[in-house]
């Protein structure tokens, strides 16, 4: 009996260690001179594409459409007014729906990065590569070069092959860290974002498949307080925060106002750096290879 239980323990710890081995942490990021903390403002600009992919009804599509018609423009104006360089994670298909908005994002010096072709990663590797390349071509037609970052579950092997240098899709640490795929190969830098610093968690019905009865909508005062506390904790630690926004969610007028107050308060602290994800990634790759 004891040996069976021992094996159980051993299997569990082996699995945990195998997973742990796929992560290489950076104990402390040496930010550039005078910088105490980096904050990445990121926006997942999929408008109604995910709603369409899930075959949701017309009003759900219209809810997403707000992101392209209204929200993305307000976020660009907000970031520009604070001198922030943000990263806009964009499905390639958005190039055919909101080309004018993407040109404006690029013209303001923000980074346009990959967020899949139509907001899903095909299981078939050949089709996955096709989607990755389609997105690369669509986004480079706006920016003049293929994206170097992604927010997706795309295979790290394909991302490496296509010239990507970072991903931003999970949170195993406060700080940027390296991760590898299941075969323990294809190491890639991850810029972590936490679901508690994701606007849709607090403002969007039906988020991540939740029904109406599981709604969790709240107001901007409460989110302001939470996000400020999350910022302060990392500010004192000399760390990193990735703020995940969605144009169809945070583009609503009162939420833009809240972000305006939050950014003003963050920027009043000395040594807060708000560049693109690519800039943070290149810094980490150079100083903590």
């Amino acid at each position: 009996m004891t040996s069976v239980l021992e094996r159980e323990l051993s299997e569990l710890t082996t699995a945990a260690r195998r997973y742990d081995a796929r992560h290489r942490r950076i104990p402390k990021v040496a930010w550039p001179d005078g910088i105490r903390m980096a904050v990445n403002f990121t926006a997942d600009f999929d408008a109604m594409l995910l709603r369409r992919l899930l075959n949701e009804p017309p009003m759900q599509l219209a809810k997403g459409e707000f992101g392209g018609r209204v929200g993305i423009w307000r976020l660009i104006a907000l970031f520009d007014s604070h001198g922030i360089k943000a990263t806009i994670f964009t499905p390639g298909r958005i190039r055919e729906l909101y080309p004018e908005a993407l040109r404006a994002v690029h013209a303001s010096g923000h980074e346009i990065a990959d967020h899949m072709w139509e907001h899903h990663v095909p299981r078939d590797m050949q089709l996955e590569l096709d989607h990755l390349q389609k997105t690369g071509a669509a986004l480079s037609s706006i920016t003049g070069r293929t994206p170097v970052g992604t927010r997706s579950d795309h295979s790290l092997s394909l991302l490496k092959q296509e010239g990507f240098i970072y991903t931003s899709h999970e949170c195993a640490d406060h700080l940027p860290y390296y991760l590898t795929d299941a075969d323990n190969r294809n190491e890639m830098l991850n810029l972590p974002f936490h679901y508690a610093i994701d606007d849709a968690m607090f403002y969007s019905f039906a988020w991540l498949g939740s029904g109406n009865a599981a709604q969790r909508i709240t107001d901007t005062d409460r989110v302001f307080d939470m996000w400020w506390e999350a910022f302060l904790q990392q500010y004192h630690a000399g760390g990193y925060l990735n703020v995940c926004l969605h144009p169809f969610v945070s583009g609503r007028a009162q939420r833009i106002d809240m972000l305006d107050r939050l950014i003003t308060r963050m920027q009043a602290m000395p040594g807060v750096w708000m560049p693109t994800c690519e800039t943070v990634a290149r810094h980490c790759l150079a100083t903590h290879p």
Partner: protein
Amino acid sequence: MPWKDGYTISDEKSLADSDVRWPGGYRCCFSITVDLSVAGGPEGITEADLASSKAQFGLREGLDRVMEALGRFSLKATFATPAVMARLQAYALRLLTQEGHEIAAEGLRHEDVSGLAREDEAARIDLTTKVLSDITGRRPEGWFSLPRQGDPFAGGTISPNTMDLLIDAGYAYFGNGLADDIPHHWVTDAGARRSILTMPYYYHYDDQWFLLFPSKGTGLEHADSLFRNWRAEFSAQYRRGRHFHMTLHPYAIGFGHRLRLLETFFQFVSGSPGVWNATAGEVIAHWREIDPVPRSEPSIWRDYSGSLS
């Protein structure tokens, strides 16, 4: 024109703040929808919904208190009214009309029409229109399909034919769209340049999602959060000179502490100079002048194998 059929309903880009103009030099618009439906789910108003204290509260006390609050601050609202509620509240509807409020339609029983045959849906629109016209003495200009708490999503439901049928039936506007925070065009046929103006709706400014939702006894009573959402959004829209819109249900907002928050909010709005409070019908009539046709360019969408069409 839709940028892409099946994806978008309207132009690529909304009107900029500086292009949003209101009549008479007003700087911001404030519109209120009062939903008279008591439907619990997609089937629309049932006998059980009506034979409930919740409905009774909404029909009598709740509606009286909401009308009183509107009257105290000289505010006009649009009442989204299912035909069955119009029959039940004929006296109230005539009174509301006399007081300058607008009566708009909300289905025969506020039912989900998304799976109905076109003829069936057309017959329901016709009868609803007739019931409301007979009671108020005027044809409704607007049609609503507001969300019910038991729906899968909080946006309201329509069928692929709804907008087309509303245009045929002579409706001037659809009452609850989510693609913008100002009125906008819902295009049904880009080639034929066929569209209907749509009023904005957003669940964050709709009382029903904050007040003992999803059912009694969950402890989810967030009237304070609802109030903060109203106040923050109104302030933001006022600064931009756009439009603030709220949705009220007399059975919900007409009670006690909630009513006091509503009055506190009305007080807050009335302290802001230059606010144009108008019914949806008035807003749409104005919109037809400043933004008469959808603006858009032809689609550049391409179909690929292995991709959604």
